[in-house]
């Protein structure tokens, strides 16, 4: 009786996602960033570390779209090369945190004996501020791109693990899982087939938000000079290096700041869109 004349309620998640113009735009923006990162060498005639002392601190022009920095390097070129690193960090962290989180979450949700220990561990990890935990881990591991990704992945693991734990608790109680157990299906198979299928949506949504948060954290850590070798351009490194010239050559920090912001906004909007599209509860309640 409560049916409505809505097309949205009958469409698949992808349709719902793309029906939202803001989300579509965000995905397009992310696509542009990804293409720029992948094809960086073909998009610019300059080298990211090509010094040119005669062309120091030039404002944006038709030759140097985003100007040049204190060493005469083309900022636009550095932006797209930096995007490679920043996006790689975001993607790597999101993927790795998902793996860690799924393992911990399923163990906690499915094996009640492990649950208290894992839950407490997650609580304890949440008690550390992101940046602080990351720098402590980096202090322990030593700074490198890979260690940065691992450290941030550890920092964001509880976010995934909690979602997965909650979903597996629910799935565990579902009758079909009990039925499968009664039929003698082995526990790992049950886990894989039933649980995994039910938790992919919340994981994808969380992973998108982690992608965004990791990019911001990376920028912050690079700004602090912790983690990434400053000779490797990331957006955070560029801002950090450009801050001395803020009064004379504002474009040095303007463009990398905008790049981070736009990318993070696009990721968050996509995450919101995914959540609405993948969460059947929200769709049902209109």
């Amino acid at each position: 009786m409560s049916a409505v004349t809505a097309s949205a309620t009958h469409a698949g998640p992808l349709r719902v996602l793309l029906q939202n113009r803001v989300v579509t735009l965000s995905i397009v923006v992310l696509g542009i960033f990804a293409i720029a990162a992948i094809f960086a060498p073909y998009l610019t005639p300059y080298q990211p570390n090509g010094l040119s002392m005669r062309e120091r601190l030039l404002p944006p022009s038709s030759e140097h779209w985003a100007g040049t920095d204190e060493l005469g390097r083309d900022i636009f070129t550095r932006l797209i090369y930096a995007g490679r690193v920043s996006l790689a960090v975001g993607l790597g962290v999101a993927a790795l945190a998902s793996v860690f989180g799924v393992v911990l979450g399923i163990l906690a949700g499915f094996f009640s004996r492990l649950d208290p220990a894992i839950s407490r561990l997650l609580d304890a990890m949440m008690a550390f501020p992101d940046v602080l935990l990351a720098i402590a881990l980096l202090a322990a591991f030593g700074g490198s791109l890979l260690n940065l990704i691992i450290a941030l992945a550890i920092v964001f693991t509880p976010r995934i693990a909690r979602v997965v734990r909650a979903s597996s608790l629910v799935v565990r109680e579902l009758t079909y899982v009990e039925a499968a157990r009664a039929l003698g299906v082995s526990t790992p198979r049950i886990l894989f087939h039933h649980v995994f299928r039910n938790i992919t949506s919340p994981i994808i949504v969380q992973a998108t938000f982690i992608f965004a948060a990791a990019m911001l954290s990376e920028a912050g850590l690079s700004f602090l000079g912790i983690g990434i070798d400053p000779s490797m351009p990331t957006w955070g490194v560029m801002i950090s290096a450009g801050r001395q010239y803020i009064d004379t050559a504002g474009w040095l920090i303007l463009f990398p700041g905008l790049a981070i912001t736009i990318c993070v906004v696009a990721l968050q909007l996509t995450g919101d869109g995914l959540r609405d599209a993948l969460d059947p509860r929200i769709r049902k309640s209109i």
Binding site: R120, M125, A127, L216, G225, I239
Partner: protein, 313 residues
């Protein structure tokens, strides 16, 4: 009530223990030998060995952990390698700017974000609401050191309204010190306000759809009263939780903000400690911050007791 407190405290103690194990092993993972770090590069191998013996570094790891716990219980969190002083003293000397900075930014964030979020929810979908949601999204996406740098340039250097950086002379008055904290607090508060705005809006939306709001309206009381007396008080309950949880975020932000504005706070201290590999200091800072977080969230549970009659522990 008593039994609730007992389980709650027990849980806290457990979490703190796990924090300690975690911190202990992070420090053990670190490359380099603490004894050598402590003595500096010029020390002889014999001296290093003697110090290692004295620090108990040659004992089995579980024994080391127990003695680490024992020291903690005596209030000894170790000695800073760089400052050559007990870490707690080093941190205490730097605590003021950090405490003031976090409190001021929280105050700024709450005063701005709470009313906007609540009014936005009340006028859901309207121009004001959509604008507020967009700004919150942006505030959450702006790197806060970048915002800090822009504030420094425009409000500090160009307009000259506030000190650009530092914490004043050593003998600066409290008023001067607070002035130095204005720009950092705005930068940090802005980032913080994003979460508070989103949550207060969501919480208010939730409450406005509740049955008792309809009942209140059916009584013929004014809209103002419906919103302020009936909806707001209920909406505040989850908002308080989020403010507690956002404490961790506030500290993260403070670490970066202090670097941007050259504030001599605990955040700068920690970054310096990492760059100098001052492990005892890093370790102590982690413990103190995590303990504070756990404490803040415990206090928030206690606040519930005061504001929600349903909560009877």
């Amino acid at each position: 009530m008593v039994s609730y407190l007992r389980t709650r405290l027990l849980g806290m103690v457990l979490t703190v223990l796990i924090v300690l194990v975690f911190v202990f092993f992070i420090a053990r993972l670190a490359p380099g030998d603490p004894a050598e770090l402590l003595l500096g590069p010029d020390a002889s191998a014999a001296d290093a060995e003697a110090l290692r013996e004295r620090m108990g570094l040659n004992l089995p790891v579980p024994v080391q952990f127990l003695s680490f716990l024992g020291q903690l219980l005596r209030g000894d969190l170790g000695t800073s390698i760089f400052y050559r002083q007990p870490v707690l003293e080093v941190m205490a000397a730097r605590a003021e700017p950090t405490i003031l900075l976090t409190l001021m930014s929280l105050a700024i964030a709450v005063t701005i974000a709470l009313p906007i979020g609540i009014y936005g929810a009340y006028r859901r979908g309207g121009a004001f609401d959509q604008g507020a949601v967009a700004v919150a999204m942006l505030a959450a996406a702006l790197p806060n050191f970048w915002v800090g740098l822009l504030l420094q340039k425009y409000l500090g250097t160009d307009l000259g309204w506030f000190p650009v950086s530092g914490y004043g002379n050593p003998d600066a008055s409290i008023w001067e010190r607070v002035q130095h904290l204005v720009l950092p607090s705005i930068a940090l508060g802005f980032a913080q306000s994003a979460i508070i705005l989103r949550f207060s809006r969501a919480s208010m939306l939730d409450v406005l759809g509740d049955d008792y709001i309809r009942t209140a309206r059916s009584k013929g009381i004014s809209e103002r009263r419906v919103v302020l007396r009936h909806a707001l008080r209920n909406a505040l309950i989850p908002i308080v939780t989020v403010i507690g949880l956002s404490f961790a975020l506030l500290i993260s932000g403070a670490v970066i903000t202090e670097r941007v504005f050259n504030l001599p706070g605990v955040g700068s201290l920690i970054v310096g400690a990492v760059l100098r590999r001052d492990y005892p200091l890093i370790q102590a800072a982690l413990i103190v911050v995590a303990a504070l977080y756990i404490l803040v969230n415990f206090l928030i549970d206690m606040i519930y007791l005061a504001i929600d009659p349903r909560v009877k522990y």
